[in-house]
């Protein structure tokens, strides 16, 4: 099968975030956060509920008001790109809580993922690839997305993001509400996508999944980076556990 993502052509396709600040109704949700996602790498952001992970991702997407010193993807200045145009610059977004279009059939959901592209033969080829990656979506293609189980909806959300043939995928808590078996399935998918050269920015509460899916991680607490390092190092660091438990 051909790769779902456009292979990153050069290292210039790195996502660079510097000085990201988000205020949410008088509350500072994210404070001066900086990180980068090198091309083809998978970076994780972990932390407890309410640590500012989701806000970070939404702010990068431009879905919520933000302040940022630098936001670049390769040589594109994303700080001036509005949310709906992000996808046209190769950035796919998998929202938290499986925000699928519940009242539309599975296939429509996927096709809408390719909204920014023409719905032509090439798009249908991508659709075939997504069905190959998630066979269950193919079986359920005419069902309403809202009638799918939690795990299937999560797959649909990822599949929908892949339909735009992104170079960088932003994932917001793909493990939320899933059984350990399904979390394993998601992990396998993420590892495969990574092997195909797609860059990943994974925001998660499930540290185990994140450590296995990414090469390095940030641990955020109260909107700030508390620690960072390679996933291999972090998973053996007792400090992570302390921060993570909020103790």
């Amino acid at each position: 099968m051909t790769a779902l993502s456009e292979p990153a052509t050069s290292t210039s396709q790195a996502l660079t975030v510097e000085g990201l600040t988000v205020h949410y109704g008088g509350v500072c949700a994210v404070r001066e956060l900086s990180f980068s996602v090198p091309a083809g790498e998978a970076i994780g952001v972990i932390g407890a509920n309410g640590a500012g992970k989701t806000s970070t991702l939404k702010a990068v997407m431009g879905l919520i008001p933000r302040r940022v010193a630098t936001l670049r993807f390769g040589d594109i200045d994303l700080s001036r790109v509005n949310a709906r145009s992000m996808v046209r610059h190769g950035i796919g977004y998998v929202p938290e809580g499986r925000h699928v279009f519940a009242g539309l059939p599975v296939e429509k959901n996927l096709l809408l993922g390719a909204y920014a592209r023409k719905w032509n033969a090439e798009t249908h080829a991508t659709l075939g690839q997504v069905y190959e990656l998630f066979p269950v979506l193919g079986e359920m293609r005419h069902r309403l997305a809202g009638a799918l189980s939690g795990g299937q909806q999560q797959m649909l959300a990822i599949g929908r993001a892949l339909m735009s043939r992104p170079r960088l995928l932003l994932l917001d808590e793909p493990s939320m509400g899933l059984s350990p078996k399904l979390v394993e399935d998601i992990l396998a998918v993420l590892q495969r996508l990574r092997a195909e050269g797609l860059s990943l920015l994974l925001v998660e509460q499930n540290a185990k999944l994140t450590f296995e899916a990414t090469s390095s991680c940030l641990v955020v607490e109260n909107g700030e980076v508390a620690m960072s390092g390679t996933s291999a190092d972090l998973r053996h660091d007792p400090q992570v556990r302390r921060i993570y438990l909020g103790l």
Binding site: G26, N49, G177, L245, G246
Partner: protein, 601 residues
């Protein structure tokens, strides 16, 4: 305070002296404006204060006017007797129009009330008793010994007194218990219900108030104009009223009055060009909605806020005070079950969120409920606290079967809860948030408002003192007058717990109280929860923070996929293979898992 009194005195004197400067036409206009102001206050109470969309206010107005007309001309009653009966009739109609509010809200309520208003116009246009399209003329006016109310100048004073009473009563209501509860319901009816506010009765009260004001307006109108016809009570005037309330600022009764006066004046100024006036006020409604949703009354506050923002970019963050523990109740917990849940099943369109869940919490314990995201924990709380009616199963609370009871009944029976995503009343101050919870008086007891302000004020003072104690205990005194929205997250969390405990529950349900808190805040939280328990309140806590659960709870229940997979002491539960598999992950056995419970924490 003195400044306020001076303003009131000045405005009062101005209104009293106004007729001396007006010719006979102008005084007529002033009389009509006062009637609109009374109607606007009623609409403001219903829509702005209680949040109930009411497009039938003009029909209430009509019922009051028509009833007066019919009772005086057809039944030959005196004006004052007719007036009393007319207001009573309007209230009866108001309660009928309000009943749909028990089932539907927002735009549905808008269309139903509008439809009923049209039904009223349809009836008066056709009915014989209401004089059909011609209406009823030569209504006898009100008489007062020694005062000639036929003179519009003297009628003005009658109206002014009624208006002043109406406004004063409205303002008093808004600032005391009933109004506070209605505002709480407007901001978040779910949370208000969970604190024991009888949402159905409050909604009916909103319509009752609107109809009283509408009826009074109608009586005054009949006495002033001496003639009623259907077109005075049509949609056009309804929208004019709505415009007044929106432009003035629906949440402020003063705003409603200002809106009524200014819009009526504009309409009067453009009396030769009624359509131009209509275009103008329609456009202003649109502009207000888009640019100044709080209306004219909200402008000063917005300007002040903008100035404050400019002045200090970074304010010195106010600090949360320390929590002062409750005195221990000193009674050994009896171990009697407070909450017994059996065979609870909750089905949502194909998804079984809860599957035969059984749970017993006994008096004086802190019970932890853990489980992966989406395992049904919050659904369990929602069923127990009455937000959802379970598909099957039973919820017994303090020995009584309370399955499917309304949230406010459960709250009044002694169950209190917090919400995962914070449901504070955003437009109430922190103190008022606490006051709503402290106030346990039944809404039906609001008839006492008729007895005069003294007893209400006395009770309010007691409540405020208690609220002061609660704020003090939770270290929130500094924020008493702040809106919750403007506070940092950690403080909002604490306000919500303080509010839930202020309702004096015997069972407290905490839904992820540690979410978003930092280490120090979590430590304080665990201290608070322990103290709450020691004061004699049973606590059930849903939490992701395993450290907190392990250190705080005597027993832990683990949910996964809507089913209970383990229950017992924290250390035992943490060692159950099914739990490790479902929740903690399979690397529990190794050292490196971040979410290893710290049993000794």
């Amino acid at each position: 305070m003195r400044k306020k009194l001076a303003t009131v005195a000045l405005v009062g004197a101005g209104a009293w002296l106004l007729p001396y400067g007006l010719d006979s036409y102008a005084i007529h206009v002033a009389n009509v404006i006062l009637i609109f102001a009374v109607l606007a206050i009623g609409l403001g109470l219903c829509m702005g204060v209680a949040g109930q969309v009411n497009l039938a206010q003009v029909a209430f107005f009509g019922v009051g006017a028509y009833a007066t007309a019919i009772l005086t001309t057809k039944a030959g009653l005196g004006f004052w007797v007719a007036a009393l009966l007319a207001v009573a009739a309007t209230v009866a109609v108001g309660l009928v129009v309000g009943t749909p509010a028990l089932r539907v809200q927002s735009h549905y309520l808008g269309i139903v009330t509008l439809g009923l208003a049209l039904a009223f116009t349809n009836w008066v246009t056709n009915a014989q008793v209401s004089g059909g399209a011609e209406g009823i003329s030569s209504i006898p006016g009100p008489t007062l010994p020694g005062v000639d109310l036929d003179s519009e100048y003297l009628y003005y004073y009658l109206e002014l007194i009624v208006f002043a009473l109406a406004l004063a009563f409205g303002l008093f209501l808004v600032r005391t218990r009933l109004g506070r509860r209605m505002r709480a319901m407007r901001d978040d009816s779910l949370a208000a219900g969970a604190l024991g506010a009888e949402v159905p009765q409050l909604r009916m009260t909103a319509f009752l108030l609107a109809s009283v004001y509408g009826g009074v307006g109608g009586v005054l109108y009949a006495g002033l104009i001496r003639y009623v016809a259907p077109e005075s009570f049509g949609i056009a005037n309804m929208f004019l009223l709505l415009g007044m309330v929106i432009i003035g600022g629906r949440q402020s009764l003063i705003g409603c009055v200002v809106g009524a006066v200014s819009l009526a004046l504009v309409r009067e100024g453009l009396t030769d060009h009624p359509t131009v006036a209509q275009v103008a006020y329609g456009a202003v409604v649109v502009l207000v909605v888009v640019f100044a949703p709080t209306g004219l009354a909200g402008l000063p506050a917005r300007v002040r806020a903008a100035l404050a923002r400019r002045r200090r970019q970074q304010s010195a963050a106010a600090r949360l005070g320390p929590f002062q523990p409750y005195p221990a109740a000193g009674i050994a917990p009896s171990g009697r079950p407070v909450l017994e849940v059996t065979g609870l099943t909750m089905q949502f369109r194909g998804i079984r969120a809860l599957d035969e869940v059984a749970l017993t919490a006994s008096e004086g314990e802190i019970r932890g409920i853990v489980g992966p995201n989406g395992s049904g924990k919050t659904t369990l709380f929602n069923v127990v606290s009455g937000l959802y009616r379970p598909t099957a199963g039973q919820v017994r609370f303090r020995g009584q079967d309370m399955t499917g009871s309304r949230p406010y009944r459960l709250a009044r029976a002694g169950m209190s809860r917090t919400f995962q995503n914070l449901r504070l009343f955003g437009d109430l101050t922190v103190e008022e948030n606490i006051l709503v919870a402290l106030d346990r008086s039944p809404t039906l007891a609001s008839w006492r408002y008729l007895l005069g302000p003294i007893s209400i004020l006395r009770q309010d003072r007691t409540l405020r003192r208690q609220a002061g104690e609660v704020l003090d205990r939770y270290g929130l005194t500094e924020f008493a007058q702040s809106r919750p929205r403007s506070l940092p997250y950690g403080i909002q969390r604490r306000v919500e717990i303080a509010r839930a405990v202020a309702a004096a529950p015997s069972l407290l349900l905490l839904d992820e109280p540690a979410a978003g808190l930092n280490g120090e805040e979590v430590r304080q939280l665990s201290e608070i929860v322990r103290s709450i328990r020691d004061s004699g309140i049973t606590v059930i806590i849903i939490e992701h923070n395993m450290g907190l659960v392990m250190s705080l709870c005597e027993r832990v229940t683990v949910l996964a996929g809507g089913r209970i997979i383990a229950e017992g002491e924290p250390a035992d539960v943490a060692a159950t293979p099914a739990v490790i598999e479902a929740y903690l992950g399979d690397s529990m056995s190794t050292e490196d898992l971040p979410s290893v419970p710290e049993v000794t924490a």
